[in-house]
C-alpha cells in the first residue's frame, strides 16, 4: 500500500513541481485523508483531543506545500511527508503545552496501513485565517478559493496580471502559515 501510494505521490509531486497543477491537486487530494488519519492517531496517542485533527491536517498540508522544494525528486515521498506530519503534530502539541513523543515508526505505519478518513467539511483554523488575510494577498487567495477560479480567471476578476496573481498567491500562502503559528504561539 505504502509503495503503491508512494509511486503515485512521487510522480504527482514531480509533475506538480514543474507546474502541472492537475497532478498536484491529485496528490493533495490523495494525501489529505491519509494526513487526517495520521493527525487523529497522533493526537489520540498523545492523549489530546482528536477534535483538532483537521487543524493539524490543514497545517500539515500547508507546510508540505510551502516546503515542497526540500523534497529531493530522486527520493520516495512517503518518509518526507511522514517527517513533516510528525513535526507539525509535535509543534501543535507543544503549542498546546504538551510534550509528546511521536515515534516516526508509528507515523510511517499509519501512512502504509490506515484507511483514509473522510472530511467532516467543517471550517478549520487555516481556512478561517484565510478569510481574514489582509491586503491584495488576501483578495487573491479568497478570489481563487471561493469560486474555484484558476490563476487566469482570478487575474481577470481582480484586474491584475497573471504574474502578479501568482506572486500574491504565493506570498499569501506563506503569510497564512505565519499567521497560524502566531495565533497559536
Amino acid at each position: 500500500m505504502l509503495i503503491f501510494r508512494e509511486a503515485n505521490w512521487s510522480a504527482w509531486m514531480r509533475a506538480g513541481l514543474s507546474g502541472d497543477s492537475a497532478a498536484y491537486r491529485r496528490l493533495l487530494d490523495d494525501m489529505t485523508p491519509v494526513l487526517r488519519v495520521l493527525a487523529r492517531n497522533g493526537l489520540r496517542r498523545a492523549g489530546a483531543s482528536i477534535a483538532d485533527a483537521d487543524d493539524v491536517m490543514q497545517e500539515t498540508l500547508l507546510a508540505i506545500h510551502l516546503k515542497r522544494h526540500t523534497w529531493s525528486p530522486g527520493e520516495p515521498l512517503g518518509p518526507w511527508v511522514a517527517a513533516i506530519a510528525r513535526y507539525k503534530l509535535i509543534d501543535f502539541l507543544r503549542r498546546r503545552g504538551r510534550r509528546a513523543e511521536v515515534p516516526i515508526d508509528a507515523i510511517i505505519e499509519d501512512l502504509a496501513d490506515a484507511a483514509p478518513a473522510q472530511n467532516d467539511a467543517s471550517m478549520e483554523d487555516v481556512a478561517r485565517l484565510a478569510a481574514g488575510l489582509p491586503g491584495k494577498q488576501g483578495d487573491v487567495v479568497r478570489a481563487i478559493a471561493v469560486s474555484r477560479r484558476s490563476i487566469r480567471e482570478a487575474a481577470e476578476a481582480l484586474r491584475m496580471t497573471e504574474g502578479a496573481v501568482r506572486v500574491a498567491l504565493h506570498r499569501g500562502l506563506k503569510q497564512l502559515a505565519d499567521l497560524y503559528r502566531m495565533e497559536n504561539a
Partner: protein, 210 residues
C-alpha cells in the same frame, strides 16, 4: 474556505521557484566563508611572522583542525535542513580524533612543566572574543538560509550552523593568532567554537521553527 478549497488554492500555486536545499546551502556556505574572510581581514592583521609560520606543522595544524570541524559540521547542516534529516554526530569523530592526536603528539614532544604555559598561550581572551565576532555574519547567513528550508530539529540544526560558523571563524582567526600549540587550540578554539555553537542552538530554537 474548506479543505477542498484550500487544496484548490494550493494547486494553483503548484510550480515551485524556490532554490533546492543543496544549492541554497552551498551558496550560504560560500557567502559565510567570504564574510568571515572579510571581517577577519578587516579586524585583524595576519601575524607578522606568517611567512615562517607557514612552514611549521603546529601552525598548519590549526587550519586542518578548524577546516575539518567546519566541513564535518557543514555536512550536519545539509542533513538537518530537510524534513526527517537525521544527523549522526559520528561525522565529528574525524576532527575530534585529529585534535586528540595533535594534543598527544604535543605532550610527547614537550616537557610536562611547559604544558600549562602552552595551553594558556599569549592571548586566549582575544581568541574568545574574535572567533565569535568573525563567526557572527556567517552564522546569520546560515540561519537565514535554513529558515527557507525545513529543519524538523530546529535547535540541533541551529547548533550545527553555529558549529560550522564557529569553525569558519576560527579558521580565519588562526592566521592572526600567535598561539600555535595544539594544547591552546584544543582548549580555547574549542571553547570559542562552542560559544558560537550555543548561539546557533539558541537562534535555532527561536528562528528555525516553521
Amino acid at each position: 474556505m474548506r479543505t477542498d478549497e484550500l487544496i484548490h488554492v494550493l494547486a494553483q500555486d503548484a510550480a515551485s521557484a524556490e532554490t533546492p536545499p543543496r544549492r541554497a546551502l552551498l551558496a550560504a556556505l560560500a557567502l559565510a566563508t567570504v564574510l568571515a574572510a572579510g571581517v577577519g581581514a578587516l579586524l585583524l592583521d595576519p601575524r607578522a611572522d606568517i611567512a615562517q609560520a607557514a612552514h611549521q606543522a603546529r601552525f598548519l595544524a590549526k587550519f586542518v583542525m578548524t577546516g575539518a570541524f567546519g566541513a564535518a559540521a557543514a555536512t550536519l547542516v545539509f542533513r538537518l535542513a530537510r524534513p526527517g534529516g537525521s544527523a549522526s554526530l559520528r561525522v565529528l569523530a574525524a576532527p575530534v580524533a585529529f585534535v586528540a592526536v595533535a594534543v598527544t603528539l604535543e605532550m610527547l614532544v614537550t616537557p610536562a612543566p611547559e604544558w600549562r604555559a602552552r595551553m594558556m598561550g599569549a592571548n586566549w581572551y582575544v581568541c574568545l572574543a574574535y572567533v565569535p565576532l568573525i563567526a557572527a555574519a556567517p552564522l546569520v547567513a546560515l540561519v537565514a538560509t535554513l529558515r527557507q528550508l525545513a529543519p524538523t530539529r530546529p535547535t540541533l540544526a541551529g547548533a550545527a550552523a553555529g558549529l560550522t560558523a564557529g569553525a569558519i571563524g576560527a579558521f580565519f582567526y588562526a592566521a592572526h593568532c600567535p598561539d600555535d600549540s595544539p594544547l591552546f587550540g584544543a582548549v580555547w578554539y574549542t571553547l570559542a567554537i562552542l560559544i558560537v555553537t550555543c548561539a546557533g542552538a539558541l537562534a535555532g530554537s527561536r528562528l528555525l521553527r516553521w
